[in-house]
Symmetry: D2
Subunit: 135 residues, 4 copies
Amino acid sequence: MSPVQTMMRSHPTRVEIDESLLIECIDACMEAEQACTACADACLSEPNLPMLRRCIRLNLDAADVCNATARVLSRQTDTSWGLVSKVLQACIQACRDCGAECQAHADHHEHCRACADACRRCEQSCTQLQMALPT
Amino acid sequence: MSPVQTMMRSHPTRVEIDESLLIECIDACMEAEQACTACADACLSEPNLPMLRRCIRLNLDAADVCNATARVLSRQTDTSWGLVSKVLQACIQACRDCGAECQAHADHHEHCRACADACRRCEQSCTQLQMALPT
Amino acid sequence: MSPVQTMMRSHPTRVEIDESLLIECIDACMEAEQACTACADACLSEPNLPMLRRCIRLNLDAADVCNATARVLSRQTDTSWGLVSKVLQACIQACRDCGAECQAHADHHEHCRACADACRRCEQSCTQLQMALPT
Amino acid sequence: MSPVQTMMRSHPTRVEIDESLLIECIDACMEAEQACTACADACLSEPNLPMLRRCIRLNLDAADVCNATARVLSRQTDTSWGLVSKVLQACIQACRDCGAECQAHADHHEHCRACADACRRCEQSCTQLQMALPT
């Protein structure tokens, strides 16, 4: 079992949504937060830094939103599904915006390519979880 | 000038939205993050802790979402207004849910009453800023 | 009463350290987190961005450490004073490093000057609180 | 390659410390942040919640400190090693305190047992990295 799986399966109350989608989504948010944090910093060290302004800005936004999303999803006590839905929508938008900008620099910077991948994975995981929420 | 005002007015590019609404909203998010963090902890020390489960959970969610919102709003370089809008919607929902739960305990716990106030102020500030975003 | 004061005074258990120093320190950490977040972003928009690499990097570090410090200090249930001490030491170092770098750009950028002030205030508050911790 | 490895190896400047220790430590901090966040929430749902007050409190502290540590370590531009050292010391203390408390509940709660493991791994990784820092 992955570390996130171990934690989510040991919760005393039964998770009300598809557990594998939830675990996958928490993992994807954590990965995207780290990728965006590292990509922003790697951009700072690039010779063409002035061209990477928007990339850094969106990286920082996405890192913060992914962190909040991973934390909200890691809680299963008395969940407000309306709140989870709004948080997922914010995360989807943050990863879409950041992923698109990173993709534009993917040919020149390996960290932007890898970060675009992490954002895409996170956007997809959040979208799938969003569709599986209790109505 | 307040500290947030000083920072936001010293940005080299002109803020694209109503500056006073923006500053007020950042302040409200910071205040709500701290109130929710402190309220969750104060609840932990209450004799009727088992009745405060949902309050603590929503406090923790709101603290995390308010932090992400304050950070996104503190940035003004190449802003994605679509992202700001989604983040504000998540923050409005988080503060509404947490504020309602805190209000239910306001007669018994001063920290819940004060936290409900902070959540209400943040929900209102985010709603006003949301309506003033560029279309 | 300030918002932080209201929250900290409504805690069911008596705060074990000088309450006014604690409140001042939480306030200073919150202010420094916002100042550093906004200064990093303002630097991103400056024409001499390549000269501000180190400033942005230290701004981001200080924002993260100040946030963790404000949260730890906002909790008063079963505090580990050894942990509070280490967190304060990390925050003092983060604000000292960031403040020194911001000060070096203070003549050219108003946001760096204001952020240096916020870092200095935070470093001083953390130092005073550190000296007042239970032994 | 793990996601963290991919990101850290794509940085334009050579990492100044043992790369595998750094990557392992970022991973351990991310895992501990999630474990502590999930354990705090799982404790909230336990029938013996009043006995888990200190566990929840230390979980929340450790989650915040681990997050700041993972972010600081994910940056490699113009690093302040003095700051990294202080942040690692705070993280070691946070994971030691939280891990000890979780361990005390490990026989009764699987999430406390798993969280104690994550804290121990993080404490060890931070300690190893601490010893490998440039002097």
